[in-house]
Symmetry: C2
Subunit: 468 residues, 2 copies
């Protein structure tokens, strides 16, 4: 008898499960239906800043990894766009949905369910939906339609004033994009420094680079309201009562799991609101794992291997891995999702300024907040041999457990090519390697590409001397 898999949400969290399950089970064995509220499937939200910044020119199509037609024709997935799920009856294997195109309310039976509802951008309390309806010029940059709207407005505002609320990854990347498009950009960050996932003394180099090209960076403050005239935003009011004039505002304050339907069905959520799952991405209700209901992607919490607890880490890498594991499990295969350790990279490239950032594991700030002891070493060097004229600068911080010497985290900031080098530290953190292991490592050396001692190894040597 043909079973039915229903996937809720047409992006990474759901669709990788659909395609993976299809690889293992043919259409006669497994019917797959995917329900998507919008009109796109499997697109790169992370690519939106580069589309807004005109680096990606053939958007939104090029940001779509697999469109509905591809899913239908190549994967035999019945993709239903503009379908919004309104409730789950998990015990009965039923869900209710509305077809926004026709207004019809429908029920759908499932044998397997994958919840991939993603995350919604954080909406500050002063930006109510009512204000959103009345005041134009305020944007999120999370979905393709939002990206398109932002992009269109930017095109009509050459030389205009933009305020980006939020100094994290999205805030920095959107500031880069708006600066490229010729706007006067101010970034407002509540944290003492941009990128609070880095230690503040590391992140300051990013601020310096952004200020160098003329971006204003305001830290330790936040937006508290808007001013507007004739239905368009004219400024942002800050917490201290001052006002920033603005022709355009982008809200990049992070995202929260979209888990209200899951919560209403009694599924276990974490403190972040993310759905809790086991290693096969099966959800829990009343302490029991539901054997046929999965959740994956930004609507879930992810096991953090260094913190040793689940946290919300909304990132396409985890969504894809989780979804793949859910799909393999539904397909009858064996796979586990082993968690994450908070690796993240980004950069600022406008006007030929190049600053790349990478981080993994825990920062000093996070370890302090956890009350965990640590030893850290920080070095400033070059990412290529120092005598090469274009050798990019690099700052590397490694943090270790003072008892075991195990690397708990790392941060890199510097010029071209620096960010991805964090991957070595990531593998070290994951596998409990020590500073001594990093000193021993056989890393690549070639003068234009790396000094004889890789900067990570120089930091590891310094760490070794401090570990005694």
């Amino acid at each position: 008898m043909t079973e039915r898999l229903v996937v809720v949400g047409g992006d990474a969290g759901g669709m990788a499960a659909a395609s993976q399950a299809r690889k293992l089970r043919g259409p006669q064995d497994l019917e797959i239906i995917a329900l998507e509220r919008g009109e796109f499937t499997s697109y790169s939200a992370c690519g939106i800043p580069y589309w807004v910044g005109d680096q990606v020119t053939n958007g939104p199509d090029s940001l779509v990894a697999r469109d509905p037609r591809t899913f239908r024709e190549k994967y035999a997935v019945d993709v239903r766009l503009h379908h919004r799920v309104t409730s789950f009856d998990l015990s009965a294997g039923l869900l209710a949905m509305s077809d926004d195109a026709t207004g019809a309310e429908l029920a759908l039976r499932f044998d397997h369910l994958v919840i991939g509802t993603g995350a919604a951008p954080v909406r500050p309390p002063w930006f109510t939906e009512a204000i959103e309806d009345e005041v134009s010029g305020v944007h999120f940059a999370q979905t393709l339609p939002q990206g398109a709207g932002l992009r269109d407005e930017v095109a009509g505002l050459p030389g205009g004033r933009a305020v980006v609320c939020g100094g994290g990854y999205i805030g920095v990347e959107i500031a880069d994009a708006l600066h490229r498009r010729g706007l006067q950009v101010t970034v407002v960050s509540r944290s003492p420094e941009l990128m609070s996932s880095l230690d503040a003394d590391i992140a300051v180099e990013l601020r310096t680079a952004m200020e160098k090209v003329g971006i204003t960076v305001l830290t330790g403050t936040s937006a508290a309201g808007l001013t507007s005239a004739d239905g368009h935003v004219t400024g942002v009011m800050l917490a201290d009562g001052s006002e920033l004039p603005a022709d355009l505002v982008v809200l990049g304050l992070g995202v929260r799991p979209r888990s209200s339907l899951a919560a209403a069905s009694g599924l276990e959520l974490g403190p972040s609101g993310g759905i809790r799952t086991d290693e096969q991405l099966r959800v829990r209700r009343a302490g029991q794992v539901l054997p046929n209901v999965y959740a994956a992607g930004d609507c879930t919490e992810v096991w953090h291997r260094v913190l040793e607890r689940p946290v919300h880490l909304p990132l396409g890498t985890h969504a894809n891995k989780q979804s793949r594991v859910a799909g393999i499990t539904i397909g009858g295969g064996q796979a586990t999702f082993a968690g994450a350790i908070g690796t993240a990279i980004t950069g600022f490239w406008a006007d030929g300024v190049e600053v790349e950032v990478g981080r993994t594991g825990l920062s000093c700030r996070e370890l302090t907040a956890e009350g965990r002891p640590y030893v850290q070493a920080t070095i400033h060097g070059t990412a290529a041999s120092g005598y090469m004229p274009a050798a990019p600068s690099v700052t590397c911080r490694l943090v270790a457990d003072p008892t075991t010497g195990a690397i708990l985290g790392g941060q890199l900031i510097g010029g071209h090519g620096v960010a991805k080098r964090i991957d070595v530290v990531s593998v070290a953190v994951w596998h409990h390697l020590t500073a001594a292991d990093l000193v021993d490592a056989d890393l690549g050396y070639c003068p234009p590409l790396s000094p004889t001692w890789d900067p990570i190894q120089i930091a590891a040597r310094k760490l070794l001397t401090q570990l005694g």
Copy 2:
């Protein structure tokens, strides 16, 4: 009583031991004398191609990491230039040397000895020292004086014809340099493809890039002799009897350990001629470890952790690590040299063509030669998200043990920033991680820097399906 450390050879193999020992023991406790045949200390031989290619302009000084004055003044190391050691009496703790400046023959007592005599470029049988004296225009590129000589001659040969004998790292890098300087370059390689440390089907991309800018690449053949007129080279005769006209010839045929003095002292050598050491870099004689005699750098063999035997891997990274361990040991500290796994990176960058190469562990070719079974997966992708206009291409091959799934090696070839990514594979090989571990890894993702699934992980996924 003050002990005396004598270091033979003023480059990485010896001098890192000198500075490391000095950090742990002051001049009252340990006198350090360094003997160097030439006039430079601690310089980057690997940087010579970039100096020849005019990318490094302030050479040779900028290629010297620490000059004799620095060693004398900051490290209290008695550096004696133009001193050539002629024999060791290891039982008596004595060596004989000649001061080439004065012609004096001297004896020197030591309590600790570090042999860091390096390696000598391979000299083809037809290029005798007699011919070298008679025929100008034929160069090695291993020492600073050789680099200076090559550089001077290149300056007088705009548009001239250069033949580079050898298609390995040095051959490729020198070809890049000579092409930048406006010469018509031909590379002659005995192997079926350039860079025999890569599998041939991977390395072909490098040949394509070099041919694209007008370099001629001849593989599967080798030089068998020279032609000359008026004491200057006019051509290279190939093994098949054909002749390549040449105004300049560079010999980049690899290097052999300089170990004749060590051999004459009865020290244990490997089949490569490299000196055998233990993990503290102490040498062996008649099956016994000599507790006070060390060897480090290109004159030694290095423990290869995948081959599980010592091999000759002349590379600055190992020399520095070995020498550091010898210095710590002499200084009374604890350290071990854990070996290497054959990581190497390079690139070809002339005329805006960018091809970077990275390899680690064993190639398919090497595994076949070893008679070891393997499974391999090769993928072609992009090093950034595919929709980014400048996304560099990348080919990634991973090789694993079919029984354990442990990664045995990896190769990367592609555009900008690709080579250093081999470091993740290197750490994986070193720590016996599996293809599944690489799929699980939390690697950095940001559209301009990496796709959601890192190419290494895409290859690991493919490998997993083949491992079954």
